[in-house]
Amino acid sequence: MKIVQKSIKFFTVLAIALCSFHGFASDSDKKNNDQNDGGVVDTKKEVEEYILHHIQDSHDFNLFSYTNDAGERKHFGFPLPVIVYTSEGLKTFMSSEFHHNDDGSVVVTKGDVKLAKLHGKIYEIEAGDELEFVDHHPTNAHKVLDFSITKSVMGVLLVGLLLLWWFSSLARQYKKRQIPTGFGRVLEPLVIYVRDEIARPNIGEKHYRRFTGYLMTVFFFIWILNLLGLTPLGFNVTGQLAVTACLAIFTLVVYTVSGNKHYWGHILWMPGVPVLIRPVLAIIELAGALVIKPFSLLVRLFANISAGHIVVMSLIAIMFTLKQSLGVVGATGLSLVLSFFITLIEVLVAFLQAYIFTMLSALFIGMAVEEHAHH
């Protein structure tokens, strides 16, 4: 009992220390303005820009940036490769050539092609030397096919390699022993949980083996990516529409391809309904099965995770926006307490969203492969 109490104390202190750490990590990005008037307006806009910038994808991996005493902007991070398919073929270069510029003023010339970056998107300038734009839309350039290794792509690759490493070494252990040792002990109950609580009940005893691989991949992938987004490293992978759309499309492909005759029968020519209504219902059911189900998976994961990130960043920004009214200590204290509790909730949400996505995927797959005796 004493050991449990000591551990609880230790972990509480550790959790508080770690969760408040990422409040400080974002601190260095703000300039120190001691103005009393006009400071509030500028701070709010800066906070909005900061939050929007960190929700979006980025072509370089920037941990933090600050303005040093000489007035220069210093960045701590490393550039990522930019791979674009322009009208002159594939061009590859490091994003450091853009010099952290995001408003289209730095033009990179590769061969005959001029490229500029505006709000995170890379454009090829067609006429003239500079990117001209009206209201965030360039007038003399068009977008190029962007295959760059951005921060989110790096996150996906990182987690992919991590999963490969962890689970291949876990699988290898079963050749020599019955019970795994080391980190495998943490992973094995989770794997069994996915198989016995998510896959088996929803898909049924006959077919669950075919799909457990996919379900486990999706579960751990989303869970680890969500947790990665809570670290001070500034990742926001599952909060990108593209990533969640991809995962939803994977689930769609899996349960559409493995649908059997009963499944399509129930969608297109459902029994138990007057024949005249069946075509109308068929259209609705088809839309439901092919569009609405994956769309809901997509939106659920995307909105939960990105909304969570926005809330955490906004609460941290309270440190700066309420500095005038509550004083430095009050604002910082309030911000730390609130963002600590929200981060705890976000840790729960990280697991929950992974579980929900996997469970709904299993449910849809189960509905597709279900074979039942006709009434």
Binding site: V299, A303, S306, A307, L352, M359
Partner: protein, 62 residues
């Protein structure tokens, strides 16, 4: 301004929904304490589905 009213309506909808789920879950647990685990799991699943709807609507309305 209409953004705020819309957001308020969304929160009301989500609040009513989640309140219903929570309430019925509590009643179920009170009736049969040994089924607490299953009821909790089902409650959390439905809550997540509802939250998905609410967040999606919030995002669509920006």
């Amino acid at each position: 301004m209409y953004n705020l009213i819309g957001a308020g309506l969304i929160v009301i909808g989500a609040g009513i929904g989640l309140g219903q789920i929570g309430g019925k879950a509590m009643e179920g647990i009170a009736r049969q304490p040994e089924a607490t685990g299953k009821i909790q799991t089902a409650m959390i699943i439905i809550a997540a589905l509802l939250e998905g709807l609410a967040f999606g609507a919030l995002f669509l309305g920006k």
